[in-house]
Symmetry: none
Subunit: 221 residues, 4 copies
């Protein structure tokens, strides 16, 4: 199984009070809990209002602390979004890799990837929303260059599978794999803008709906 390489720039000891020895037993876990809570709050806000439009004060207010206190947990506003995105990328890439590792035929692999992607829509709604809305802004920052590298890896997974499917006579030959990948990718992620779980169709249903259209089109054959 191929190793997957997404890691945030500041993964590892992310707390500012990093240098000191730990005191009690479960304190690290507790600290981590607090952190994760804050990250989740921030993620919601970033998703709702956008990264730039969300102020650190918004986040702190939501957490019931002062904005300066956030800096006990994070180096910067950027490091928060970093954590959100890195966590999403790590999970999605592992899941993609797991599909590839099953060594199915290309059609089933693509279906698997599509299901993984749609499946992440609910648990990673906030991260995906940030990705969709603020990618343009975030990619301009050095700190997030690792995300671009990950995206390249992902693209290779899909494009290779699509190409194999064409060689195997499963997919139409007149499709550009890269173009097709991008369309599939964007169509899935952009659904985060309007998809609301609990609204008639769940993520699985959405995936199946999409697979039908993607594989066979909207025409009645």
């Amino acid at each position: 199984m191929k190793r997957v390489t997404t890691t945030s720039a500041n993964s590892g000891s992310r707390t500012r009070a990093g240098g000191a020895r730990r005191g009690g037993r479960g304190s690290a876990a507790l600290a981590s809990q607090r952190r994760e809570h804050l990250v989740r709050l921030a993620a919601e806000l970033f998703a709702e209002k956008g990264f730039q439009a969300t102020t650190v004060r918004n986040i702190a207010d939501e957490a019931g602390i002062l904005s300066g206190s956030l800096y006990h947990h994070f180096d910067s506003k950027e490091s928060i979004v970093d954590e959100i995105l890195a966590s999403f990328f790590n999970e999605i890439m592992s899941a993609y890799q797991a599909v590839l590792d099953e060594s199915l035929n290309p059609r089933d692999t693509i279906a698997g990837l599509v299901r993984v992607a749609f499946g992440s829509l609910e648990p990673h709604r906030a991260a995906i929303t940030v990705m969709q809305n603020d990618w343009n802004y975030l990619r301009g920052m050095d700190r997030f260059s690792y995300l671009i590298k990950s995206e390249v890896e992902v693209e290779k997974m899909w494009v290779d599978t699509l190409s194999e499917g064409q060689k195997a006579g499963l997919f139409r030959d007149d499709l550009d794999p890269k173009l097709t990948y991008r369309m599939i990718r964007d169509t899935i992620w952009v659904a985060v803008r309007w998809f609301r779980p609990g609204g008639g169709l769940n993520a699985e249903g959405l995936a199946e709906h999409y697979l039908k259209v993607m594989f066979d089109g909207i025409n009645l054959h």
Copy 2:
């Protein structure tokens, strides 16, 4: 022919000094030209960096004037983006309406709408990019509520056509028209992120590529 209702909040007298007639004849035309030039510069910047990340000074710098001077032409930064988006919406809706007015069969109508949309990718690249990236932020402002209304109108055009196509036995029956519309819509607009005219495939080619996939899927039949 149905009337189309997109209008910017500040259409009409857009220049602040709008009421007072200036001396020479062509001065209004000249002013209008200058305005449009500024709008175009701003659109490029908004597309490149995002609405929020673009400062009025960025725009002024690009135009070779000081930021304060922009306010002789526009009421606010918002009014600039308003003009950009309203102009795009007006054109696309007219074009959509023109397709509908041809009264073709649903399949050809959908194809026509798709071609119109892809066709707007190049001339309205900046506006569409802003729409894609900053929609989440802009929709929160009262001033842009008219855009949401327009989007509802557009949705109706597509969904009605898709439904008719199903009834006419042209499109598969097991698809949700609204869901299908959204997927088509998103797939097209999101292409603005990576589509670059002059790069192998032009907008027309892209449209045909997509129509194939949309109608018949990626499977080899």
Copy 3:
């Protein structure tokens, strides 16, 4: 005459509103006047309280404007102190060079340099004070590396002259020129801490007093 190379990192168009064409005639001069006024106010404060302890609000208050308004004139707090120091360095180095250009014997050259230095105590009191008190902090910043380069140039002027004086049999042979230079230099500049013009002795008197001690010591011969 040798050219002297001190220039601030951001010399040239220092105003933020740099890109635009200038309007009226004397406006540039007027703008420059305002700038210089602000720089002078800032210099006084930096000298009095130290660079770090002086807030931009302190400066703005002194000028009767809001702190944000300072940024219409300067890029940053650093750029203000830069301007102060660069201006001082430029003047002192020109003056030093002028002494060297007179090609006097080493003893008179040293005397000339000493007089120039003491002579700058009054007109450049603030800059020298900042130099003395905040050098340690400022030299840590890349932006001020040019000051270190200038200091090297100055050191060469003095050390060369002292060495020549030794060769010419004017100065004691058992002195380390570099060490001697540093002592002279520091003794002069550090006087800025207690020297107040109008208090009995002026800068010229101080220079003569120091020259006596420096050349012949405090012993009665």
Copy 4:
């Protein structure tokens, strides 16, 4: 022998938990050791980066504890620097007094004072550096007014000796004792900026070098 009056504002019970007696015997001594260690670390940092630029976290990091933990040892950041400076002042004044107590002739007394001062350059490098660089800032605080009083005392020691030397026909008559003192003082202390023990000349050598210049000047007689 005259009593010397330097005492820090918070000398005496310096530990916050000072009143309560702890269990074991050596614990007080141990605590004191820990304290002194922390003070030394802080002194190094203050000297290197300046008092204001050094954060309590810098100090804590260096000590391998968290910044809040420093407050078990010290009341405040100020109290740390207080301890550093008070300790230096106490020692130097005792040493000065010891020279005076020897009742030598003025010339030898001055030589003795100079040697004492240069001799403190190495053991009290950090304190002297802080004094030189941060004096301007610290003197503005009430808590350090005792330092100014001490400086007055010191000035008296030197100026009196210089005056006696003039009366005794040892020193030139045309020098202002106060001015001369200041120059000598500044020349010595300021050497802390570039003096590095182990670099060719040690503190003693430096003292002798300076004594030559101070007594007889740089001229060859």
